[in-house]
Amino acid sequence: MDPNGGDERDRQAHLLNTGHADEPKRQAVGGEFLAHILRIAAAKSRRFAQAKRPDVQDAKGDDELFHGMKVTTSETAGNSYCSRGQMDLQHKLEILADAAKYDASCASSGAARKDSRGSAGVGSTGGAGICHSYAPDGRCISLLKVLLTNACLYDCHYCINRRSSNVQRVRFTPDEVVRITLDFYKRNYIEGLFLSSGIIRSADYTMELVIAVARKLREEHHFGGYIHLKTIPEASAALIEMAGRYADRISINIELPTQQGLAKLAPEKNLSRTQDAMGHIRGKIDERHAEKRKPDAPKPPPFATGQSTQMLVGADDSTDAVILRRADVLYGEYRLRRVYYSGFSPIPEPSALLPIQPPPLVREHRLYQADWLLRFYGFKVDEIANDAAPNLDLQLDPKLAWALRNRTVFPADINKASREILLRVPGLGVRNVERILGARRYTRLRLADLLRLRVPMKKLLPFIIAADHTPARLGLDDDALRARFLPPPRQAELNFDAPPPPVSGDIESVRSGDL
């Protein structure tokens, strides 16, 4: 029986039993609304009845889930679950989500604006992404991030799914992924799907399976939510194009910044091939843009609006300078939207070829800060990390570290300095720089004005001049200046007092300007 669709007599009985205490004020609401609320109450009391049944807890997700699934997916009849199947599904989700969690990318922003009005389906994209939840690791959960299968021919040593690992191998059918995506989406758990896969049989074979999921979602279910597909550089150009047609974002992980690193830790992967594939995708994205701008031309078929990638930090011995230079190439030559830095983290099936101790989490954080400086603050890689000082200062944010190395640039007069200089003042974010530029056309800014903008004054003061403030010249020359900014000397790594690494709402965090 379908408990939620309900047989009419059953529903009537529940309606009569519904406690009147719960009822909203009758006179205030329309009949339609009342009916709706009562329906909810009816469903609710039915569920209570279910919950009181013995051993619902033990049969976790068994009966109840089975019915729930059946209701929400009756349009794909013929594929209904038996309760065993439901257990399987839960088990597979556990393994295939666990297998996907080492991928740091989570953004669901920057997609073309589209929504579900006038369609039979659900889904919208555009604007800043939404993080629908956060795990205790501080990472945003915005997409259902899973692998289609964790079986893999490759042997990337940082990866739990590599062929040398002994994890249990499972595989979703495309329909199963489609179903979970839609069910999660309709409950507003997620923004969409991030689908990746271990490589089975061949790159093309795997890509076809991944594309099948996206095609079903878009064409059979009119799903308008966010889709991020991970692609394989060796897959044929035609397949990558097809992936781009269904996805809002496609990505290829560069994994490590150098070919030497790949040769050692991911022997099947290749830097040039990865970059070639990124170049191909960039070409497609640009092409579509150009076509869209042509007046009177028919609307070109959709194509992903951006690509992103991930680089592992601390798995090989690449310095921050090497990592940032690679990121700079990726942003410049391939127009990537985002490079994610993922501190190598211990996995349950560790490889003999890898360091056991992970790098400090703060290193990844500093790389994100440096990345921000490159993209939004007009810094060049060499100013942040270079051959002389190849690694970022773990104790100070890279902008402050730069300012301390370049004290002659300061102090900057907030009433006169150019935007470029203001952007380099420690503690001033992009947004506050804009506010200062706007306000100083009408008024001479004093410290009280800055306080109102909630800038970190302690950080700022040695570097600026305001209408009522000039820093002691000595202060800037003082060798002890650096010491003033160091975090208190205990457990700096675990408790570093800094905002979380950039999360989904890329743009938002940029605007808030908090580094």
Binding site: H36, R39, G138, R187
Partner: protein
């Protein structure tokens, strides 16, 4: 000194503010207060007062005011009127550009709080399946949410766009929004007990939440700054948090103690063979970025 009591919606404030402005009543002569009773419906009040009598204000101010009106702070009407006065009779037309001004800053902060509240509502509403409309076959969902401010009418458009293909109601203490496929409408607030408690899918969602968490990167503070505890009671996954945190260090230690696995030889596979061929011949120096296509 006069006291103006209005229903706490933007349209009501605008109506009164226009009249006061036309009469040239300076801000320090007005005391604003919210009518104790909730407005009947959130439907915008029809505005009868003539437009011509009011000097023009920058459109940005109206956007700001519409948003700030949803804030719960009792001072908002007064600050809005003072800024309106300064923009018009006070001769400070550029005022909104001065982000460091006390009033402007205050409005912007309220506006930001509203934006955040709306954003969190978009993120943390959890729909529960309650049935299927027999006539149309559409699935029906309901959700309970407790926003900090009166934002239901500001946040609802998003849900209409995203979930057009299903019927839904979002119930809150300040007001409810409903969508039936053709019309978005609003009704007064209801108590928590009117909303469904759980959904059959919650368990599968918790499975996902548990599995996507990486115990080796525990950052509880980062999580809480984005997902403050006040939201937890309406999030099905939040019941797992304490346990995940408690067990994380044990799980990491276990990983670090695990015996290292040696590399397995590559299986016989045509595709892997083809990769090996590709990987051996001289390719361009790997660290030279190739030409942009």
């Amino acid at each position: 000194m006069r006291t103006v009591v209005i229903q706490p919606v933007f349209a009501e404030w605008r109506k009164s503010a226009r009249e006061l402005l036309a009469l040239r009543v300076p801000p320090e002569d007005v005391l604003w207060s919210d009518e104790a009773q909730e407005p009947g419906l959130f439907a915008p009040t029809v505005d009868a007062s003539p437009r011509a009598a009011v000097p023009k204000v920058p459109p940005a101010f109206l956007d700001l005011a519409r948003s700030v009106a949803a804030h719960c702070d009792a001072r908002r009407w007064g600050v809005l009127y003072r800024v309106l006065w300064r923009l018009t009779h006070g001769g400070e037309r550029h005022l909104l550009a001065v982000a460091t001004d006390r009033d402007v800053r205050q409005l912007q902060q309220w506006c930001k709080a509203i934006g955040r509240d709306i954003h969190k509502m978009h993120a943390f509403v959890r729909f529960r399946l309650v049935g299927r409309d027999e006539a149309t076959g559409r699935e029906q969902f309901a959700a309970w949410f407790e926003p900090e401010h009166r934002i239901v009418h500001l946040a609802a458009g998003f849900f209409e766009k995203r979930f057009a293909g299903m019927d839904w109601s979002i119930l809150t203490p300040h007001g409810c929004a409903h969508w039936d496929g053709s019309l978005l409408h609003f009704t007064p607030g209801v108590p928590r007990s009117a909303a469904p408690d759980d959904d059959a899918l919650d368990d599968l969602w918790r499975t996902y939440y548990r599995s996507i968490f990486n115990p080796a990167r525990l950052k509880v503070r980062a999580m809480q700054s984005e997902m403050p505890k006040k939201y937890w009671k309406n999030l099905p996954e939040a019941t797992l948090i304490a346990d995940l945190i408690a067990k994380s260090s044990g799980r990491v230690e276990k990983m670090l103690r695990t015996e290292l696995r040696p590399a397995k030889p590559a299986p016989k596979n045509a595709y892997l063979d083809s990769l090996r061929v590709l990987n051996t011949p001289e390719r361009p120096p790997p660290d030279e970025p190739p030409q942009t296509p």
